[in-house]
Assembly symmetry: C2
Homo-oligomer: 304 residues x 2
């Protein structure tokens, strides 16, 4: 029997149509050899950008029920990772904290990958009451966090105006006990680029510039995909390999976005026609080969 556990408890949204939350995270993880035990925090017909959204929301009592089912069958020891993404409710987030602690008491080596989804581009899209809970309760429990620049600003409680600020914010996470901080995107690239950052506590630091793929459309689910790919590629890697982990994560992401864009009509891409959200869903299933074997072209630089 294999002595390497590769099983993720992933608590995220489920949408019937399209790719966000668990729909974005599960397939890549499975393709990369991880079993995914998915707790779906909602079941919605589609993501919230569409004209209509219908479906059901799991409350913290129901989350607790599912978790107790796992616990009663003595299944809590089987996880190598916990992964959480978008959470929209205070009670649910507090339940997550209990779950982390319980999982860790059963399996001390479990890695908690927290994507602290709060907002993007200067706009919060979760209730503001979640922020202090993330800051004081959730982040201190996490081993790996994957905020974007805006989320890092909110959590660290500082404006990030320079690259030196980036590392100050990163240090805030490390001081809270986080081992690895990946800033999934920021404004600090060259013109037409995003820049990602990666830091290990008491270890190496990296940055990687990502050319924006020319379109006015912002794709949904890319952050969830980043977190799941980063989880998979970083597992059991030596700190010296972290640059390569980031390169592989970004390579797959870029390939998925490129394939997605290739199927969107030109008029929609350049904003002359309103985006059809279904046509803009990530071409994730069609990108299996890019998940299995990311073709690295963008190289990470080690920051001295």
């Amino acid at each position: 029997m294999s002595d390497v556990k590769r099983r993720v408890l992933s608590i995220q949204s489920h949408v019937v149509h399209g790719y966000v939350g668990n729909k974005s995270a599960t397939f890549p993880l499975q393709v990369l050899g991880f079993e995914v035990d998915a707790i779906n925090s909602v079941q919605f017909s589609n993501h919230t950008g569409y004209d209509v959204v219908k479906g059901q929301i799991l409350n913290e009592t129901e989350l607790d029920e599912l978790f107790c089912g796992l616990e009663s069958n003595n299944l809590l020891k089987c996880y190598s990772h916990l992964l959480t993404g978008y959470i929209g409710d205070v009670s649910f987030l507090r339940k997550i904290a209990e779950i982390v602690k319980k999982l860790r008491s059963e399996e001390s080596k479990i890695i908690y990958v927290c994507d602290p989804v709060l907002g993007d581009n200067g706009e919060m899209y979760v209730p503001a009451e979640l922020l202090p809970i993330y800051q004081t309760v959730i982040v201190p429990l996490a081993d790996i966090v994957t905020p974007n620049q805006y989320e890092a600003e909110l959590l660290a409680g500082m404006k990030i105006s320079t690259e030196s600020d980036v590392w100050k914010a990163v240090d805030w996470f490390h001081e809270k006990g986080v081992d690895i901080v990946a800033i999934s995107s920021s404004d600090f690239g060259q013109r037409g680029e995003l820049r990602t950052f990666l830091s290990k506590r008491n270890g190496p630091r990296f940055a990687l510039n990502i050319p924006k793929q020319g379109t006015s459309i912002s794709f949904t689910g890319t952050g969830d995909l980043f977190a799941s790919l980063f989880l998979a590629h970083s597992y059991r890697k030596h700190p010296d390999q972290l640059g390569y982990v980031l390169e592989r994560t970004v390579a797959t992401l870029q390939a998925v976005i490129k394939r997605t864009i290739a199927e969107i009509p030109e008029a929609m891409l350049n904003g002359k026609e309103a985006p059809n959200y279904s046509q803009c869903e990530l071409k994730l299933i069609q990108s299996k080969a890019d998940i299995e074997n990311p073709q690295v072209v963008l190289k990470a630089e080690q920051i001295k």
Copy 2:
């Protein structure tokens, strides 16, 4: 843009841990290039064979809500297939019938693959009231059905005692309008074998013997896996290729079961130790290569 739609609306159970229902069907379909829009008819911690089961059941009103969400966003035309498996409730099953009709009115070419899950080995595990609805409403809407022998007996309303009876039962489905009937397992093999049957209306017929893999454990989720693999391999195949479709479906199934058995302790396999259900879960994720490239060793015979 690709003119071949490969997108399945799959209405089945979801379990957090393990592989039945949508957890058994989705990964193989995705690996074989199909997008899967999964409506989870339940969210349970695990399958019902475990000591404890916790979770939530979707009712027909909530199913309708999700479906209306898809409809409101004009997404019903995007499906090549509808796949349904275990359904435990009369109202839910009646709602499925409405959904098939609505989907077909939007996309006449949609293929409805119905796994009429009723029971196994002479024991029904759904309420008896479902049977007449399957017989008179659901089966006549299906293009492909994948009952086991016992389910074929219940539906066709006859005891299947000889191989000639098998074809009589198969004809009952064809007379109801079903294009392809796959009897996923039966007692008519040689000693130590199961026998599967496949028939196309006004087309060829096949049978294939499957050696039982020596164990007293019956694995959960294999029927759901059969239906999803058959869906994927049969899509757009010429009737003459149907034997090969069955061979590939069975090849993957056998490989998954073999890999699953290989990780179960001997004492559990031979019944000296009680089965640990978690250890008996299908090793589906680990079988990606067998899903992508089934190694056919068991050949189908064409029945004259």
